[in-house]
Symmetry: C2
Subunit: 526 residues, 2 copies
């Protein structure tokens, strides 16, 4: 997740120290595994890969060569990892009569190494570019970088030695940082090789986004977003089952609400928990979804007792946006996200998401024993559903429309997920969607593709859902992905949302969901 | 000292562990003093200063401003220092949603900040440029840089924050590193204000070049050169009297000779003592001079016993370059330095330096009780002197000529310093030099200017020597120097020998000698 900037400095937050303490106690230990260099590589043109670049294997060892000014090498660790980097460096020739000056670049995908950071002029902070300039005054030395990077490739460029000596590198290694280890996870039997590969890459994506919280991207953003958490948690239940991490994240969000009770769209955890001053309407509501989904996995009365009042506060805040006739009205100060695209009308999605979450909330209320209020929320739900059926559904077209009378894919998808109609009707709506609104255009996030795919599954269109997964996530793999990306538009495979791949995240949590989709809808088959 | 590159990888060195141990035991403790920020500054045009730049004082405090992308500030510590830098950094505004990315540049003189490192394309290693690019993932933090820098000014440029927050800086400090402290040194009474200023700046130059050895330049080169040591030691005897440091340096050179007995022109001390594979004819010989000068300060029979054989080896090696007629013949494989300039014939300088050092060696031999050989060396000395008088001195012109029949300043200077003629004759030679060969042209090193000045003093031309000091070292001060520079040509005051001031050293040991010259020839007046 990354989004346009909101700045709300004046908003004050509560800090519930009791809940923060519970979050802290749930901090998982990190697993650190040493990964050795697999091979040296060379940046090479390949039109079949992302942006036309790949890393070709070089038939040489790292210490085969003495490096001088302007020489460079590319280390290939064979897969995507998140962690710290270290390498031994020495000089050969005359005594070292000047500092060694080197540049290191860490890349998740080959294309990043084809761009120079000086050229980057986007709106996202250039501090995210994984590039370091290092002086070493004394050799030999072990260069052990203090920062964490997300990478498969490390390019080292010698900016200068002196004419009198050269530099030699040896024993590069990376120490991983994750709270889970896919090596210890039995891989499910997936007959379809393509789906097996998609599952595998999704699992690696999820693994590399799990540290002391569910991060959205280990290269860029590196924080806990509530909308991303919802999807990561679903994938986690189907794989690592690190359910305490979900619980920790729920406590983090629940512990830091605004003075008027709203939950921030994301939180930072370093150096200590800090809620961001960004608010998204449905992200606040998804606190309910995450809690609901967690409690489907675990009986946890303490958690429910702690967080139910906060969940209720979210639903009550959102109810103030519902008109008398049952229409949910968005507000610019509390925007709805749905997808990065701002080119489609999201009013019907908002209506559907409200229904989706309210259903989950009513379940929570019952679990929490808050029976007295159920009737009221059921009546609100009816009103929302009735408004949707009567005012938004176009029975001639067999599609939902929006306030601006748009028939967009996202509206159908969320109305299906919200279960406004029964399964057979949903099937018809999604069939119509495929027939009339497909192919998907102008959607670039795996986040929205996830919802489209899940809606197809929910509507019983298993083959179509599978085909979409293969066309979308599968296409990233064909383009060279080791982990799934923050953004991908199959129509514009080389598109970088921030103008340069050096700032994009190529391991992004909200794209890990094939782990969940395959497990739930294909693997756990009757 | 810095010089063209010699590469002699195949030369093998002896390592006398006994002498190295003695050198190690003489390592002085470093004095670390904290220096606070004096003021903020701004780079400003000033045609009266070096390269037309100065730092104007800004009437604001460091925490008066919140810094955003592309903002920068210049810290002025009020004087030149050698040490480490630290600063507190925090963010203000929304939570810190991206790493802070900053660039730090450390400058000895204002002009350095007017140049960008990307533009540098010289032959000296760009690793010397005092510039760092730093990512900080978490704020607040104490940024404490691990490397040592030589600087008065620190420029911090914010390369990026994010649109959501700004950065604030506070409490910048530097921790000095020197083995001496001029604050604890009584300042001599020097009536002439101009000379007092020259002495003061010379003393700061020497102080900032004294760490675990006598360094040539704390910004660039950072090592022990034998020719520079000779001058530093002389200035040290007149000021800090840190004589054990001279002794340590003598042991370092003496401990690591080539298999054929020669002493390297310079040694490195980190991570452990390493002799460079650069050899200069008179630098090897100056081992004798430094030993001779040290023993004029200290009775040290152990040192003499340890190092006399090594001194003798140097003189004996050099004797092989003397022809039957008494002429010293240079050899490309063992070049003579005299000055950076390669535009004048150095043959007569070489002859004179040989005489200068041989006289000192004969004194050493007597001190060492090596009486049996004195007569032989005296005869060689006579032959050298006679050749000089008969073949090199032009009595009509009253000047020494060279093999290529050049009448250059350096030849006169070194022949006077060598005492080939008595004082009255030397006076005439230097008077003629002033009349016929001055003004000095194409000499850019304070090293050679030192010898010219001392020759004037030795010849009894005190006023002329004083005037030269004021015109040369005084002019650096008028151009803004806090310490004296590696190179300076009064005819080309903006000249940077490596094409850019960012690579030049503006605190360079061989320029500290006014401390010695003023003390010996003016202050210690009859």
């Amino acid at each position: 997740m990354a989004f346009t900037f909101q700045m709300n400095h004046s908003i004050k937050f509560n800090h519930d120290e009791g809940l923060l303490k519970k979050a802290e106690l749930l901090t998982p230990p990190l697993i650190n595994k040493e990964k050795k260099l697999v091979r040296l590589g060379e940046l090479t043109k390949d039109i079949t890969k992302f942006e036309g670049w790949t890393i070709k294997t070089l038939d040489m060892k790292i210490d085969d060569k003495e490096y001088k000014k302007d020489d460079s090498l590319i280390l290939d660790f064979g897969n995507h990892y998140v962690g710290r980097f270290a390498i031994d460096i020495n000089s050969v020739g005359s005594p070292m009569d000047a500092p060694l000056y080197i540049r290191l670049r860490f890349a998740e995908v080959a294309a990043e190494l084809s761009h120079e950071s000086e050229e980057y002029d986007g709106w996202l902070a250039r501090g995210w570019i994984q590039e370091e300039f290092i002086h070493l005054d004394e050799l030999p030395t072990l260069l052990s970088l203090p920062r964490r990077y997300a990478f498969r490739y490390v390019e080292i460029k010698v900016l200068d030695t002196s004419p009198k000596w050269s530099v030699v590198f040896s024993n590069p290694r990376l120490i991983t940082e994750s709270c889970v280890d896919s090596d210890n996870l039995p891989f499910p039997k997936i007959e379809d090789m393509e789906l097996a590969a998609i599952y595998q890459v999704g699992l690696k994506t999820l693994e590399d986004c799990m540290t002391d919280v569910f991060e959205d991207g280990p290269k860029r953003d590196r924080r806990l977003w509530l909308g991303d958490l919802r999807l990561q948690a679903l994938a986690n239940y189907e794989s690592f089952k690190q359910n305490d991490l979900v619980k920790r994240c729920l406590y983090l969000f629940g512990a830091m609400t605004t003075e008027d009770g709203r939950i921030s769209a994301n939180v930072f955890t370093k150096p200590y928990p800090i809620p961001d001053d960004t608010f998204l309407f449905e992200y606040s509501l998804f606190f309910i979804s995450v809690l609901h989904d967690y409690l489907a996995q675990e009986d946890d009365e303490e958690l429910l007792g702690d967080l139910y009042p906060i969940a209720k506060k979210q639903i009550n805040t959102s109810l103030t946006y519902i008109q008398e006739d049952g229409k949910v009205c968005a507000d610019e100060s509390y925007p709805v996200f749905v997808d990065w695209s701002t080119e489609f009308d999201k009013t019907t999605c908002l209506q559907a998401i409200m229904i989706y979450v309210l259903r989950q909330f009513i379940e929570l209320a019952q679990k929490a024993g808050d029976f007295g209020i159920t009737e009221y929320y059921e009546s609100v739900l009816d009103k929302l559903v009735n408004y949707s059926k009567n005012n938004l559904f176009d029975s001639e077209k067999n599609l939902f429309k929006t306030e601006k009378v748009e028939y967009n894919i996202a509206s159908q998808v969320w109305m299906v997920l919200a279960g406004v109609f029964p399964k057979e009707m949903n099937r018809k709506i999604m069939m119509t969607t495929i027939e009339k609104l497909f192919p998907i255009k102008n959607i670039a996030t795996p986040y929205m593709y996830h919802h489209v795919t899940e809606a197809l599954f929910v509507a019983g269109l298993k083959e179509e859902a599978t085909e979409l997964m293969k066309n979308y996530w599968g296409q990233m793999i064909r383009l060279g992905a080791d982990t799934f990306w923050e953004a991908f538009d199959p129509d514009k495979p080389d598109y970088s949302p921030y103008g340069s791949p050096i700032i994009s995240s190529y391991c992004h949590a909200w794209s890990c969901t094939p782990v969940y989709l395959i497990s739930k809808y294909l693997h756990r088959e009757e």
